[in-house]
Amino acid sequence: MDFALSEEQELFRTAIRKYMTDLGKTDIARSIIDGKLESITRVTSGLAEMGISAIPIPEEQDGLGLGALDLVPVFEETGRVLLPGIQLETLALAVPLLNAYGTQVQKSNWLTKVATGESTISVAWYEQNRGLTPKSFSAIAAKTTSGYAVTGTKTLVSVLGNPDIFVTAAQTAEGKSLFLIKASDVASQKILPGIDETQQIAQLTFDQAPAELLGEPGEAAQMLDNALLHFNAALCSSMVGGMDELVHTTTEYAKIRIQFNQPIGRFQAVKHGIVNMKLDLETARSLSYYAAWAVENNTEDKETAVHSARSFVSKAYIKAAADSIQLHGGIGFTEELDVQLYLKRARYYENYFGSVRDSRKKAARALGWHTKSTKQHPVPVS
């Protein structure tokens, strides 16, 4: 029995935390709100210098060939400071997709560039008024002499740091399929107002955009489902990092904030509130570690592990931020404190590439709770 990150992984955590502290913790996130988008480029190259963008890339593409567990400290520490950008989308969604389904050419074109920090990739999946698992897409991919041309509109695309390519999905004769489209071939991009102002989400329009097929046509949903196991495990780590910071700052505040001649942390109403946050944090961390372990080891229970983690951590993150606002009192409700930024990030992630309900359903199905087709007996009249 050894349910802990390795010493190397913890050392890596220390290094990333130092780097994030040197960057001023949430300063980068706040700089996005102020419109200073260029700060992301500096972070991206800094992370690449530390070798972070090379972690999930195979050695053949100049990566480190490491696994999901090695990303845990990375995303916990970037999540702790609400680092904006598309590290999650690139490293935990696009890379697993390219790793699993890319051709040799696609891999050497793109993965090498991701490893060195030259490139970032985002994923354009959602369409307006449709969920994560639509029956079909209104975006259409038509065959051309050299490949495909995609026409349609995608929304909720994370675009901070100017990704070079988008993994997108469109309808073909064979069904929903995945494509790679260069950012330079996007017809128009409109930034949408989002609840989390430290991120940038956009609506993208493609007009006959040249597109490379990724994987087999008609398999987009299955491919995304598989890659989302990586993404959700990483997302959980990011949220756990945020929760950890919330517990830490709330605890410290309760120790120094004096009311009725004593620190408020002495009052059980406050103390127990923080303890409840701590309980959720530890459960979230255990579930997220296990999810990453299951993904890395490709275990039979990986779907249950990842989706149960995602459903719990999403909710717990929102609750931790909400409770932290309450425990900070009046100051907690102001823009001055970071707490509100964590709440907005938690809400942003809640329904980003899935939801609590989706995850619970997937976990239940993976546990085999639902019989294939229960014949619904007519309800007796009595």
Partner: protein, 397 residues
């Protein structure tokens, strides 16, 4: 990160499984797990079970070999609890004697105390209770008022204990008393190994809300103890108490695995029970709620694993066990609360008339004890807040 067991650990599990298969009470493995209803037979049944464990070498695996134990590792203890929960083994009547009293005596008892008590605890010949709580001292043990006064060379003890588990079946009591009125709350406490079979000791069972009787009130009226019954030094009982509490190192394991098993039973119920011809599981409310409970129960188990890893690496447990205790007991309550809700109107009936073939309603009622016994959830939250997060202590403590 590694969740596999070593070959040695698997061999240990295999041996225990094989032993359980041949030695559990007749019919037990097949699901006939009735314990005798009347106290006399109940006591005898459980004493026989402990005797069987003793003869098989499974009564106290964590004890040193010289005292009849196996010097079991922490992982072996965990496996032991897993296996015992798996077969839903009969309860250990001398839990207090084995897990708390005897290890404390090994550490700080006199030679004659060791000779007189340790083997009898192991064989089940002598059942122990612990006399801590009092009507005015529950979680705050330093507020006890039971007095022991030296008179003609003997200790005369007067007072009242409450929530004394197993007292109605016990031969001896690990009794906490005051031997002097003192300034410091932790001073003047003395621990006695009290003989329960004497006129000055009266035991009155307390009937719980689920109809069971596991606790008692114990009235002490001029009960007698001798100097030979004192553990450690007179007036230094607080030290003994702390030592005793540290001995229960793997107690939470049994609860973690029991909770997991109880959850599986609720899932079985949701799959097999039909309302209007549709299984409960097909109701989205049920599926969603169960997925949520599954996740949190699994999270509690994984927390436990993480804390065990920490203990294995550091050699001793930390305050994280409060976290495990709190989570597991709260989840036990929530699980049966949910089990009640999803049964609908059929959940009104109890026992053999219950909708499901197990007694969910009984377990629901019993679950209220989980967040009170062994330190209330409020006390656990204080411990976590103060010892893990470093928040200031409540005034007055």
């Amino acid at each position: 990160m590694n969740f596999t067991f070593t070959k040695k650990e698997e061999k240990f599990r295999g041996e225990l499984r094989a032993w359980l298969e041949t030695n559990l009470p007749t019919g037990w493995l097949e699901g006939d797990r009735q314990l005798p209803k009347d106290p006399q037979h109940y006591s005898q049944f459980l004493r026989d079970w402990q005797r069987a464990l003793y003869e098989g070498g499974w009564a106290a695996i964590a004890w040193p070999k010289e005292y009849g134990g196996r010097d079991a590792t922490l992982m072996e203890e965990i496996i032991y609890h897993q296996e015992m929960v798996r077969v839903q083994s009969p309860p250990l009547i001398n839990y207090i004697g084995i897990h708390m009293v005897a290890p404390t005596l090994m550490q700080m008892g006199t030679d004659s105390q060791k000779d007189e008590f340790i083997e009898k605890i192991l064989t089940g010949e002598q059942v122990w209770s612990q006399g801590y709580s009092e009507p005015s001292a529950g979680s705050d043990l330093s507020a006890i008022q039971t007095m022991a006064v030296k008179k003609d060379g003997k200790w005369v003890i007067n007072g009242q204990k409450v929530w004394t588990s197993f007292a109605h079946l016990a031969d001896r009591c690990f009794l906490l008393t005051k031997t002097e009125k003192s300034e410091g709350k932790h001073d003047g406490i003395t621990v006695f190994l009290l003989d329960m079979h004497q006129p000055g000791v009266e035991t009155v069972p307390i009937v719980q809300m689920d109809g069971h009787q596991e606790f008692n009130e114990v009235y002490l009226t001029d009960a007698i103890a001798t100097d030979a019954d004192v553990v450690g030094e007179v007036g230094k009982g607080w030290k003994v108490l702390i030592a005793l509490m540290l001995h229960e190192r793997s107690g939470i394991a049994a609860q973690v695995f029991t909770l997991e098993q109880q959850f599986d039973r609720v899932v079985d119920m949701a799959k097999s029970v039909q309302v209007c011809g549709v299984s409960l599981m097909e109701d989205p409310f049920v599926g969603d709620g169960l997925a949520d409970l599954y996740t949190r129960i699994n999270g509690a188990k994984l927390n436990y694993y993480r804390n065990i890893t920490h203990t294995l690496k550091n050699g001793k447990p930390g305050p994280e066990s409060s976290l495990d205790k709190l989570l597991v007991s709260e989840l036990t309550k929530e699980l049966f609360d949910f089990a009640m809700t999803i049964q609908g109107h059929a959940g009104i009936l109890m026992a053999e008339d219950a909708l499901f073939d197990s007694d969910m309603q009984g377990q629901y009622l019993a679950s209220f004890g989980a967040t009170i016994g062994g330190g209330t959830s409020e006390v656990q939250r204080n411990t976590i807040g103060e010892r893990i997060l470093g928040l200031p202590k409540d005034l007055g403590r």
